[in-house]
């Protein structure tokens, strides 16, 4: 029996819940894995991630958003916000756990009973680790142009094609992928959502080194890979709606001010260590960034409150991702710029008592404006859905 099963989480006040999670994290999260000046946006992957998630699972703190009947915590949205807040507060490294955050909720909404019974417990126990196969070399922002094909042959699909920017594919056991199963006038139709074992014959994975020197994302190649038809999620050709079912919530979590908060902590540390606190030019820039994060947290909270009160996230949540990611850019740039010569060092630098890596934080802030729908795409969405601006006229 886990620690949280013995208490009725719904009956805890928000504050009691917060304190409970806070003290559990303080007692259990390894100090050396915390986000700090050296790795303000630290991520865990591979064994480190799995070991931590197993510990979280055993103690009953796993999958805050999943309903309890599927083994999750079944937290209200309000308590989920507190949960994330406490992770940030404790400096817990981020984990790209797409099984928990994306595939699980998708299966709960659209999966078959057999898929739910088989996969959900395995996600919680980290028996399976999932990556997401959406983007392709010619289908990035224009995702619906994807071409990886799945052709039915008896009880199997034969999958051919290539995925790219697949984060942590080398650390994963499975991939959930969007594949082309049919051709229709509207390119969003004819896409299907498939669950694929990465051990299947015909799959090869090649890591790609990013600008921070890490091999987080990969190319995944499919060469006549056989996938049982039981691995289709939702209806054939309707995978686009399956993938979009969670989009609003995803944009809320992506808009979290947590990363910007860590970058601002580093900014304050740098300003102190470099004795810049009497420099009005530097301090006015820092004040502007501080005020930007302050006001953004307020806007984020207002929008989360609306969702916590029961409304579904509207198209306006796209603005969260846009603002949070660009604020992260500006903060990481401030850190590199005020550090002067230190900012030119590629790798670790010791500034006073602080060990940091300004190149790493600058580069790791870059992709946030690109992934999960580049900010240009988010602005397109906002222009049309929130401001009601007209689309491009049809070509004559």
């Amino acid at each position: 029996m886990s620690e949280t099963e013995s208490v009725d989480l719904d009956r805890l006040s928000d504050e009691e819940f917060r304190q409970g999670f806070r003290s559990w994290l303080a007692a259990n999260y390894p100090r050396e894995l915390r986000q700090d000046s050296h790795r303000p946006f630290r991520r865990l992957r591979g064994d480190a991630a799995v070991n931590w998630l197993k510990r979280v699972h055993e103690a009953g703190w796993r999958a805050p958003a999943w309903p309890r009947e599927y083994g999750g915590m079944g937290l209200s949205f309000r308590k989920q916000l507190i949960y994330h807040d406490e992770l940030e507060h404790a400096g817990v490294a981020r984990i790209i756990d797409l099984g928990e955050t994306q595939l699980g909720p998708t299966l709960i909404l659209c999966g078959s009973e057999a898929q739910k019974a088989h996969y959900l417990p395995r996600i919680l126990a980290c028996d399976d680790v999932w990556c997401q196969g959406y983007s392709e070399p010619n289908a990035g922002s224009d995702l619906a142009s994807l071409r990886t094909s799945a052709v039915r042959e008896g009880d199997e699909f034969i999958v051919n094609g290539q995925k790219i920017w697949t984060t942590h594919a080398t650390d994963s056991t499975h991939i959930f992928a969007l594949v082309r199963t049919g051709k229709f006038a509207k390119k969003q139709q004819g896409i299907s959502f498939l669950l694929i074992d990465l051990q299947a014959p015909g799959i090869s994975v090649r890591p790609i080194v990013n600008l921070a020197g890490e091999d987080e994302f990969c190319e995944v190649f499919f060469d006549n890979v056989r996938v049982p038809v039981s691995q289709l999620v939702g209806e054939l050709d309707q995978g686009w709606s399956v993938a979009k079912a969670l989009l609003g919530y995803e944009r809320i979590w992506i808009g979290s001010p947590a990363l910007a908060g860590k970058a601002l902590e580093l900014a304050n540390t740098l300003v102190r260590e470099l004795a810049l606190t009497a420099d009005a030019g530097v301090m006015d820039r820092l004040a502007e960034l501080t005020a930007d994060l302050h006001d953004y947290r307020l806007l984020y909270t207002e929008i989360c409150d609306v969702v916590a009160d029961g409304d579904k996230p509207g198209p306006g949540v796209s603005m969260l991702k846009v603002y949070a990611s660009e604020l992260l850019h500006r903060l990481s740039e401030f850190n590199q710029e005020v550090a002067a010569e230190y900012g030119g060092i590629v790798g670790d630098a010791r500034i006073g008592a602080t060990l940091t890596d300004l190149h790493w934080q600058l580069m790791m802030a870059r992709p946030v404006t690109i992934f999960a729908g580049a900010n240009e795409i988010q602005r397109d969405i906002l222009a049309k859905t929130v401001l009601g601006l007209p689309g491009e006229p049809a070509k004559a």
């Binding site: 502007e288 005020a291 602005r379 009601g388």
Partner: protein, 368 residues
């Protein structure tokens, strides 16, 4: 938004649609504009003036929350009435008044819109507070200089911060009193004035406020004013954005609405996000003010954010309106001008951000 706020918002929108004629504000660049007294009295009849007054002074139990609803709507329409200067701030100050009969008489004049009240607290450029007024009170007469005072009508009532042998006080002076010289300048959609007092007699024989309460009362009035002004500035920004979005939807060039061009769309989206941040910021300041604790950081953050946002949206709105945006025929100029005065009055964004930074939790250090 609660029911009362929704009702107020809707009745303000109706009133502005019917009674506010923006064309009357045009063609007077550089000329100080006095208050439209007929409109001001109508606002009194609608029960919108003096919302911050306590029930003992005829207040209705409403307060700053309701005032911000109105102020935001006034911003959205570029309404020229000095609502913040002559309703929010005087009402807030009167609620602390020790001189009961004076407070009662002034409250009536404020609420029915018969007189225009305004605070004269500032003495030099760039002042955020009023700790040591140099204007002196002696034997029922005051002498000194007050600057940047909005909404001074020739029959107006001035609430003036002064000091005497005992400390600071607030006195009431009639704008048409002997020994007072008023120099108006155009500012925003109205005016600001320099006031020179030379043995000017005070009204009611005694100060309105004296003693320890003066400092807290003035601070509370400035707080309330800054929050309501922030709401008005966000309203200006949102109003300009709405107009700009409508304009780019209708303006056709190269055979298509210019609002279908991505470069225009993305600029509008950025302004929309900026206006959303401004709204979140002043609403937070309002909640902090209502809680009654230290709201200084929240209020400064809001005033800085909203003032900057109104200017930014204004500059972009002019550009996206093209040559039309540079003319006095378009309404954008009125919004921008209104925002310019509110940008600086009660503290500039630079000052307020420094003030905020000095109080922000976790901030590295302060240089102010």
């Amino acid at each position: 938004m609660d029911d009362i706020s929704v009702m107020l918002r809707d009745s303000a929108a109706d009133f502005l649609a019917g009674r506010h004629d923006r064309s009357r504000l045009k063609g007077s660049i550089g000329k100080p504009q006095l208050v439209d007294r007929a409109l001001w009295r109508e606002m009194g009849e609608l029960g919108w003036l003096g919302l911050e007054l306590p029930e003992s002074l005829g207040g209705t139990g409403m307060g700053l929350r309701e005032s911000t609803v109105l102020a935001e709507q006034f911003g959205r329409s570029a309404f020229a009435a000095p609502y913040v200067a002559s309703s929010v701030m005087p009402a807030s100050l009167l609620s602390f008044a020790g001189h009961a009969s004076a407070a009662a008489e002034l409250s009536v004049a404020l609420q029915d819109g018969g007189k225009v009240l305004t605070l004269a607290w500032q003495e030099a450029v760039g002042e955020l507070g009023f700790d040591a007024p140099r204007t002196r009170l002696q034997d029922g007469r005051i002498s000194g200089l007050k600057r940047f005072v909005p909404a001074v009508e020739c029959d107006g009532l001035l609430l003036v911060s002064v000091r005497d042998a005992a400390g600071t006080a607030v006195v009431v002076v009639a704008a048409d009193a002997k020994g007072l010289t008023i120099e108006h300048q155009a500012a925003g959609l109205g005016s600001i004035a320099t006031l020179r007092f030379d043995s000017t007699p005070i009204l009611f024989d005694a100060p309105l406020l004296v003693g320890d309460i003066v400092s807290a009362a003035l601070q509370r009035a400035l707080d309330a004013g800054r929050i309501a002004l922030s709401a008005q500035l966000e309203g200006l920004a949102s109003g300009m954005l709405d107009r700009t979005v409508e304009y780019v939807k209708g303006r056709v060039q190269f055979g298509r609405p210019i609002g279908s061009f991505q470069v225009i769309q993305h600029r509008c989206v950025d302004l929309y996000i900026a206006a959303q941040l401004a709204g979140a910021s002043w609403r937070n300041a309002l909640r902090a003010y209502e809680r009654g604790g230290d709201a200084a950081a929240a209020i400064s953050a809001a005033k800085a954010r909203c003032a900057d946002t109104a200017q930014r949206v204004g500059r972009e709105a002019i550009q996206m309106h093209g040559a039309m945006g540079f003319t006095e025929e378009a309404d954008i100029g009125l919004y921008v001008r209104s925002g310019l005065q509110a940008y600086a009055w009660l503290g500039t964004p630079l000052q307020h951000r420094r003030h905020f930074m000095a109080r922000a939790p976790g901030a590295a250090a302060t240089h102010v």
